[in-house]
Amino acid sequence: MVAAPDPQYDFETAARDCRPFLLQIAVASARNPVDAEDIVQEALLRGFRGIRRFRGDCPLRIWLSRIVVRVAINHHRSAARRLKRWVFFGDVEIVREDGSQPEFDPPDHSRNVPRERIMDVDRQVNRLPDEFKMPLLMLAVDGMTIPEIAEILEIPQGTVKSRVFYARKRLKNALEKRRKK
């Protein structure tokens, strides 16, 4: 059950709570992770402007994630990639005043693997078509489930599973091919 949206709902608080999650969605959706911050900022701005259209039929973070995915796709297509950097929520800066970081950064499992190897896999992931790449990366987001991915991408759950399977298969084949060279 999803609670109806509270008219007094503090969007700013919600944005702060969702932000780590949204940043991961942006990183999973964007072609270039460097753009992820811009994408989240723009998505939050659009969400703030269109909050009246939020019907409350899904959690707010899912609704905002959909906006993030749409912005990420448009961001990639747009010729003007250098979007203006919005300083919209003064208190949701990436680096807080006391110098602490928000807790969006997942534990660094990559330390045990050579950086070149990760970069190589990253390159191969980026070569996957968006429709395969997005579900695969989203599945790696903390706590993300197949039903949630299906809701965000607005496709059936079976399609998500199928795309994740083919993404895995393509990636595996690409990495094996590269290893043989």
Binding site: L23, Q24, A26, V27, A28, R31, N32, P33, V34, A36, E37, H76, A79, R81, R85, E93, I94, V95, Q101, F104, D105, P106, P107, D108, H109, S110, V113, I118, M119, V121, D122, R123, V125, N126, L136, L137, L139, A140, V141, G158, K161, S162, V164, F165, Y166, R168, K169, L171, K172, L175
Partner: protein, 282 residues
């Protein structure tokens, strides 16, 4: 249950659409068949790698987000410092030009006069001698200006070919191994060469095993109507290609054709088409 059936239903196994009876048979098969077990395991091993990629991307995103977050005052100060630095460089170049030997007429003539004065005193010199000797000073001035022209930015030891696509990913020649690569050096300064490269791309770009790249030496926006993939040089020698030249590289990375993008586009297309057909790109 055999390996063929299992491979045909691998997707259904991963998508959890197999019935209970089929699942039981699959689990029995997996306990006995090593190759199928390895196949399943290798597909499952992809997930931790993707997780590492996401972590790596998150780190990049965090670094990018925290680096440019500065106040407007700081940005204005930075811009002011940049302008001041540029002014200082221009002033320094101006001073350097003024002090260049032969670069200023005010320094050279006195030395000529002093060397000529003994001749004059000896009574051998004529009035025309100093003016004749002073003449070579004038052609030196452009030479002095030339000497401060910017040096080539790309050092000799730079990589042969390294470019960055608009998304920020770097590519080298090895990324195009197995495909014929056509690169064209374009710039917004000479639109007709970019238009010729566009015509070449429209005529030949859809061929299999061919990659066409429009390389620009600095980061610049594509011109209207440009649809060929645009990349930017990343401090490489760009296969020694000069501005507004194109180079065709075969599947093994060897140069096969080189020429200018300027001139008649039809002649250019037919020349490249002939070479591509020789290289087996159809």
């Amino acid at each position: 249950m055999d390996c063929q059936w299992f491979n045909a239903n691998l997707e259904a196994y991963f998508c959890e659409t197999l019935g209970n009876e089929e699942l039981l048979l699959v689990s029995e098969h997996l306990t006995t068949c090593l190759s199928c077990r390895n196949e399943v395991q290798s597909l499952r091993d992809v997930d931790p790698m993707v997780r590492q990629v996401l972590d790596y991307r998150m780190t990049k995103a965090r670094l990018a987000a925290s680096a440019p977050r500065r106040s407007i005052g700081f940005q204005l100060g930075l811009a002011g410092a940049g302008v001041a630095l540029a002014a200082a460089i221009v002033f320094g170049v101006f001073l350097h030009q003024a002090n260049e030997p032969g670069g200023s007429a005010s320094i050279v003539p006195p030395t000529l006069q002093s060397s000529d004065s003994p001749d004059t005193k000896a009574g051998k010199g004529s009035d025309s001698t100093p003016t004749v000797r002073a003449k070579p000073v004038a052609p030196d001035q452009p030479a002095a200006v030339k000497s401060i022209a910017p040096e080539p930015i790309i050092p000799a030891g730079a990589p042969e070919f390294a470019v960055i696509d608009p998304s920020g990913y770097s590519k080298s020649l090895s990324d195009y191994r197995g495909r014929v690569l056509l690169i064209g050096i374009w710039s917004a300064d000479r639109k007709e060469t970019a238009q010729n490269l566009q015509r070449v791309y429209q005529a030949l770009g859809t061929r299999r095993n061919l990659s066409v790249l429009g390389v620009s030496r600095r980061k610049q926006d594509p011109l209207p109507g440009m649809t060929f993939p645009v990349v930017f040089n990343d401090g490489s020698r760009l296969l020694e290609a000069r501005d507004f030249e194109y180079v065709v590289v075969d599947k093994e990375g060897h140069e096969q054709l080189r020429g200018s993008l300027a001139g008649d586009s039809n002649a250019l297309i037919s020349k490249i088409r002939t070479k591509l057909e020789q290289l087996g790109v159809r």
